[in-house]
């Protein structure tokens, strides 16, 4: 574990260093990407200026709502669908094909349903994330040994109680994959939607900087998204490891 973290950090350092060299020597033109050191400095300045704080707060708030509701709704739907093997099997191809829907073509529809506020972005983040959670919940529940189902029956539990007290706790570590994907997809969904239809938010700031060739703003913001996503993923990764460590001989 410690060794892995060290190697990971070393790897990141190596990549950053390589980028620094490539940009400093001009192999990557400054117009395309500034050196990482300047990105970090830029991010620092940007945060100090206070200019992007509202955008960051907005975006992270939207991501949190999208992600949390995707996890809640996704596991509920997953539990419901998984109760019938036939239903789960019949829906399987549709769950994966769902990701081929060009969501961005349906912003008008989003507006028609959710109006012209910030709601559509949350909805898009939610919609991308929720299916990943559903699919994974089904996968995770499929692994529940029959004996635990029988145990629930022995206690005379209702399906709901069984899901809450036995199935979901048992599947916890396996649900982690779904949670990780939910984090990824709510980031992608919310920020992606902000590119197109938002007045505020990191996505909007990035796309504005992109169009204005303000690399010293764009890259720090991308870096910021990476850092936040990395931190959130890291937390979930640690949580998952803790769950798993309880369940394995050290």
């Amino acid at each position: 574990m410690k060794r892995a973290t060290a190697i990971r950090l070393a790897l990141i350092a190596a990549i950053v260093l390589a980028l620094e060299l490539l940009t400093r020597t001009g192999i990557i033109a400054r117009f395309v990407a500034p050196p990482p050191s300047e990105m970090v400095a830029g991010l620092w300045r940007l945060l100090l200026s206070g200019r992007v704080q509202p955008a960051i707060a907005q975006t992270l708030g939207k991501i949190a709502i999208a992600c949390a509701s995707a996890i809640v709704v996704g596991s509920a739907v997953g539990v419901a669908v998984q109760r019938s093997r036939a239903v789960a099997d019949a829906m399987a191809p549709f769950f994966t094909a769902y990701y081929a829907v060009p969501v961005y073509a349906f912003y008008p529809l989003m507006i028609a349903i959710f109006g012209v506020g910030e709601a559509p972005q949350v909805v898009i983040g939610f919609m991308l994330a929720v299916v990943a959670v559903v699919v994974n919940t089904i996968n995770a529940l499929d692994r529940i040994p029959r004996v635990l189902r029988k145990t629930a029956a022995v206690y005379g539990m209702s399906p709901l109680e069984a899901a809450r007290r036995i199935y979901l706790p048992h599947a916890g570590p396996y649900l982690a994959t779904g949670v990780k994907l939910a984090v990824s997809y709510s980031f992608i969904g919310v920020i992606g939607a902000e590119f197109i239809m938002s007045r505020v938010g990191i996505g909007h700031e990035i796309v504005f900087a992109y169009n204005n060739f303000e690399n010293e703003i764009m890259y720090p913001l991308i870096l910021f998204v990476l850092l936040v996503a990395g931190t959130v993923n890291g937390l979930f990764y640690a949580w998952e490891k803790r769950l798993l460590s309880r369940r394995s001989r050290s």
Partner: protein
């Protein structure tokens, strides 16, 4: 073949019980029966039989976990509906059913806490049961930190703490090596003596059945019927030393002979 018993003495009663899986005539499986069997109140009954003969199917019916296709099954005089496990019945499965996300103490407390017992009473009962099952030092451990045998003991403790009047065990020591099984068997005997509960033990180990049970039911190959009922001569205070008794050899030989043919026929069934 079934030994008659008076109504009050009958704890579990099976009459003409059968079980058929599936409805399509081409694929349906005649898994069990017909079975006529009475378990007497307070007796230790073991069932042996070849693989796939319907032991677990029988077990599920007695537990109230699944319905008989035909015939009637009663527990304490009331019919089992095949959907709910009646109060007073404790079930231990062959597989490890401990809750990996709970500590040993929380595992054991699970059922009685759900039943709404006060915290103090829960603690007292859990502590007693853990002590009895030799798990006191592991109250705060998680199942993964225990050996397979200890995890099985956790499941037994979780069942016992509810003080069932009928204890059902489906090959509970299947995952253990032979030596550990015998030691666990002794603990089970101790428990049975102290609680006075009726015990139904399903096993494939003939020596285990011969040593532990008052009566051993031998099942035929599928569809499983009771083809022999063997009464053992041991007293209530028996332990694993009975294996040295010459009658022990006789009993296991009788079981083995009954079963060898049945096993052969079960194996060829599987191949078919």
């Amino acid at each position: 073949m079934n030994v008659a018993a008076t109504d009050a003495a009958v704890h579990v009663g099976l009459r003409g019980v059968t079980r058929i899986f599936g409805t399509d005539p081409r694929t349906r499986v005649n898994a069990l029966g017909p079975i006529d069997l009475d378990l007497r109140r307070g007796e230790f009954f073991a069932v042996v039989g070849p693989s796939g003969c319907g032991k677990s199917t029988l077990f599920d019916i007695v537990a109230g976990l699944s319905p008989a296709t035909d015939g009637t099954a009663t527990f304490e005089g009331r019919p089992l509906d095949g959907r709910t496990v009646p109060e007073g019945v404790g079930v231990v499965f062959q597989e490890d059913a401990s809750f990996a996300w709970l500590t040993v103490a929380d595992n054991v407390a699970f059922g009685i806490r759900r039943a709404g017992l006060g915290a103090a009473e829960v603690k007292r009962r859990v502590d007693d049961t853990l002590a009895f099952m030799g798990l006191r030092d592991f109250a705060a451990a998680y199942p993964a930190q225990l050996s397979g045998g200890m995890r099985q003991r956790v499941c037994i403790a979780r069942t016992l703490v509810q003080r069932p009047r009928l204890i059902l065990l489906d090959e509970p020591f299947g995952a253990l090596d032979q030596q550990t099984r015998l030691i666990m068997g002794e603990e089970l005997l101790k428990l049975w003596r102290e609680t006075g509960a009726t015990v139904l033990l399903i096993t494939h180990a003939l020596d285990e059945a011969a040593m532990l049970a008052d009566r051993v039911g031998v099942m035929s190959a599928r569809p499983g019927r009771i083809i022999d009922l063997v009464e053992t001569p041991w007293g209530k205070d028996r332990d694993s030393r009975v294996v040295a008794d010459p009658r022990f050899g006789e009993i296991t030989a009788r079981l083995w002979t009954r079963l060898r043919d049945e096993s052969m026929s079960a194996l060829s069934q599987k191949a078919g």
